[in-house]
Symmetry: C2
DNA sequence: GAAAAATGTAAAACACGCTTGACATGAAAT
DNA sequence: ATTTCATGTCAAGCGTGTTTTACATTTTTC
């Protein structure tokens, strides 16, 4: 699953460390999400969407073929 | 985190087994979600929302105090 | 009232989200 | 040039989402 985290972050000039602290996870977690190593949990997805003042669907891009 | 899965299911007269098959998980997973034993993954949340033709935010109810 | 369908419990095992800590590299700042 | 900051890698470990199997209880249907 792709996501727009890195893009939104750059738009607003926020570092991975700042975002990580804002949503209460480690920087490693943000790196892994941005680089597609795994998907966020529903709760984390919600926190990130809230931080960027948008919806989960707007940030996380679900493709049709995903099992 | 609360969710409206059971309510939506009953509205549309769909069994847990039917929903489970539609979103490709086991019936046990649906039971556990409905009874609040754990939270769905982001991907599963998306599939369920799509199945019910609505959004993740409409089905999963995030409370303010959730860590 | 019996049969069938729907919902539930329990426990073991596996997969994955997330943490921790240590270290590497490149860009920016002074 | 050196320090600082931002991004990245790697690996071990913990907690939780999900599966599997088997069985129990409630609700529906005929």
């Amino acid at each position: 699953m792709e996501n727009r985290i890195a893009a939104l972050r750059k738009e607003r000039r926020i570092s991975q460390a700042e975002l990580a602290e804002a949503v209460a996870v480690t920087r490693q977690t943000i790196i892994s999400l941005e680089n597609g190593r795994y998907n966020a949990s529903l709760l984390l997805a919600h926190k990130i969407a809230k931080y960027f003042e948008t919806t989960i669907e707007d940030i996380f891009l679900f493709e049709e073929e995903e099992s």
